[in-house]
């Protein structure tokens, strides 16, 4: 309990952009060995430091097989929300779920942020008993609780959904939905706090993804292709919006950071029509929610011998957009094309007509583009989890998606890295040629920046 509000809490996204630059990044590391333990890495991102751009700490998980993936903070700027204010809580604990094991780790980043420690582990059985859910995925610090999505039920089938945890005790309180309506698949979620609306997206049940992407299910359009809108207060399903069965896997949700705006962006992994990826805008029109495709990234032709079995017959690499991130001023949208190995930057000042203003290439299934630090070394994997600093000047990303899927698409092996981009305030991105982090056999997934980043906090004030 603090005497003044946690200094990393900002009432609005606009004010959060004045935050000082981050000095540490936390990175979820997957151990691809079957009996290996995952870890949380601490990466020095302080340009003034002697160990800049290197792993300075690593916390191993107590068990094997967690598949660390996404994670988040116990508390953030949403604690300033006027209807349930409690700004004297600390942003201190990382909530780190194992996507495969369903085990949730509570990791304390104090007293030494460079040496985090595990303080509590919530075992899978406890999670199932209290919520009926397994495979916890996205976590967000809400105005009143920690919210977390989960992909499925105890037997690996659906429905997946959302559950809540107390941010003081870390007890799992139970499932969030009172009325889930037709929703069955789960993946990501976030909200428009100014409208009391939650949005959720769809991947597939654990049984549909854990052994790898199932081409039969994919070609039949069986993976998720809808968005769901919810009444955040009454915990009720309001509306489903179908992007069309050919739009397979509707993943990352990035609502406007301004709570007075009711629009956001969502990425779609693959279109069955032409293997393209796309980004859609959802928006409110006369009380109902609508979607519109605003970005389409085409597949790139490639020689069959460069491609994994699944793609040989297409002679093309799908872009596989698997993560997107929106800067705090709602101006730049970053789009990871994991298949083709490209990170794109769009100016989305007008959300309905994005302009491509920047692009860098690294890795890619067919191209294996090198990083400027070692310009002759081909790189595997492609841009995946992307995180933007609060001031919008720096972008970090890693290259691993999900163990089984890494092995399918990067069939010749995936060696993990984390890179950093510098952002031109007027648009445009370039690699920091000195920043190239490798992880010693582990695979890096989500990055969280010390003090918060562009996907960690939500705001109740414009």
């Amino acid at each position: 309990m603090l005497m003044m509000p946690d200094p990393t809490f900002y009432p609005s996204a606009k004010l959060a952009m004045q935050a000082p630059p981050e000095r540490l990044a936390y990175v979820a590391l997957l151990n691809p060995k079957a009996d290996g333990r995952d870890a949380l890495a601490v990466v020095d991102v302080d340009t003034a430091s002697g160990t800049y751009g290197s792993v300075t700490g690593r916390l191993d998980m107590p068990n094997a097989g967690d598949e660390l993936h996404h994670f988040g903070w116990n508390a953030c700027s949403a604690a300033l929300c006027p209807y349930a204010p409690h700004p004297h809580i600390e942003r201190r604990y990382l909530i780190v779920p194992g996507l495969r094991s369903s085990r949730i780790h509570i990791i304390d980043t104090k007293p030494d942020p460079a040496q985090p420690r595990i303080v509590r582990v919530i075992e899978p059985q406890d999670l199932v008993n209290r919520t009926g859910y397994t495979r916890p995925h996205t976590t967000h610090c809400g105005p009143d609780d920690i919210y977390m999505s989960a992909l499925g039920s105890a037997n690996g089938d659906g429905p997946g959904g959302i559950f809540v945890m107390d941010h003081y005790t870390f007890d799992v309180l139970g499932r969030w939905e009172v009325d889930r309506g037709p929703q069955f698949f789960a993946y990501d979620f976030w909200w428009h706090l100014g409208y009391d609306v939650m949005v959720s997206s769809e991947w597939g049940t654990p049984n549909m993804i854990e052994a790898g992407l199932d081409p039969n299910l994919l070609l039949q359009g069986k993976y998720g292709h809808q968005l769901h809108f919810w009444d955040l207060r009454r915990r009720k399903h309001l509306q489903s919006v179908d992007l069309g069965a050919e739009q397979q896997m509707v993943l990352e949700l990035r609502p406007s950071h301004d709570p007075t705006k009711a629009y956001g962006f969502v990425g779609v992994v693959i279109s069955l029509k032409d293997l393209s990826s796309s980004v859609w805008v959802w928006h409110r029109e006369g009380g109902t929610w609508k979607v519109r495709k605003v970005i389409e990234i085409p597949a790139e032709p490639a020689e069959p011998e460069q491609l994994p079995e699944m793609l040989k017959s297409f002679s093309a690499v799908p872009p596989l957009v698997t993560d997107i991130d929106l800067s705090l001023d709602d101006r730049f949208l970053y789009v990871s094309a994991w298949g083709t190995g490209e990170m794109r930057q769009y100016d989305v000042s007008d959300p309905f007509s994005p302009r491509l203003v920047g692009s860098v290439r690294i890795g890619g299934i067919a191209k294996s583009t090198p990083h400027p630090k070692q310009p002759s070394t081909p790189r595997t994997g492609g841009p995946q989890m992307v995180e933007v600093s609060r001031d919008g000047h720096r972008v970090y990303f890693t290259n691993s998606l999900y163990r089984a899927w890494d092995d399918q698409f990067y069939h010749r092996g995936l060696s993990s890295w984390m890179v950093k981009l510098d952002v031109d305030p007027n648009g445009g991105i370039a690699f920091d040629p000195t920043f190239f982090v490798e992880f010693d056999g582990h695979r890096a997934h989500q990055v969280r920046l010390q003090g918060g980043d562009a996907s960690s906090d939500s705001y109740c004030y414009p």
């Binding site: 309990m1 009432p11 006027p82 209807y83 349930a84 409690h86 009143d144 009391d196």
Partner: protein
């Protein structure tokens, strides 16, 4: 006593959790000064209602049961509530930004009740009850005592509310129009912690007097 009641009203008013912050947020959401004012009214009604309930229960108790017993119970209640808030600070759940007039009244009522806003007044209210002022009053005058108690209760609530409303409104407009949201980061000391200490202190005062 009246000055203390007024100042306690001011103290309640300055707490962001008692209303002005919500009013500012709704004003910003609607981008309108009028929305700030429109939110303060129902929140204040809720707050005042909560205080009025506690004050009237206390005055009724003071008129029905022996004075010292009522005072000791009130004091223990205050200390207990203060300690509870000290060790277990909680905030409401399942609320949101899209609330109408009724919702804001309810919110103001719940926040004031959960913070023990009315309880805080008790050490100053109980000595003011007509029963306490004239404990030697003969039985036939009891009816007169009750109506005097009502008048006194109304007066207490009014004085308190005046301080509360004045400060809430001034702070809401100052933050909305002049200081901006940055103030939240620099000026929002842990008033809940101080609040809990004040509750305990009020309980001890009630015990001592």
């Amino acid at each position: 006593m009246w000055v203390v009641l007024f100042l306690l009203g001011c103290y309640h008013g300055i707490n962001p959790a008692m209303g002005w912050l919500f009013a500012v947020a709704l004003g910003l959401q609607e981008r309108s000064t009028r929305a700030v004012a429109a939110a303060i009214v129902p929140i204040a009604i809720g707050h005042i209602a909560s205080v009025a309930v506690v004050v009237s229960v206390a005055l009724t108790a003071a008129g029905t049961f022996p004075q010292p017993a009522v005072r000791v119970i009130a004091a223990l209640l205050l200390v207990g509530f203060g300690v509870y808030r000290l060790v277990r600070a909680r905030h409401p759940r399942w609320l949101g930004m899209r609330v109408g007039f009724g919702g804001l009244v309810l919110w103001g009522f719940l926040m004031a009740s959960a913070h023990g806003a009315g309880l805080m007044l008790l050490p100053f209210v109980l000595p003011a009850s007509p029963m306490a002022m004239d404990a030697s009053m003969p039985m036939p005058l009891a009816a007169h005592g009750v109506s005097a108690g009502v008048e006194m209760g109304v007066l207490i609530v009014c004085v308190h509310s005046l301080g509360y409303l004045l400060v809430t409104t001034v702070v809401a407009f100052l933050v909305y129009r002049r200081f901006g949201l940055k103030l939240l980061r620099t000026a929002w000391f842990n008033i809940d912690l101080v609040w809990a200490v004040v509750l305990i202190a009020a309980g001890l005062i009630a015990l001592a007097t």
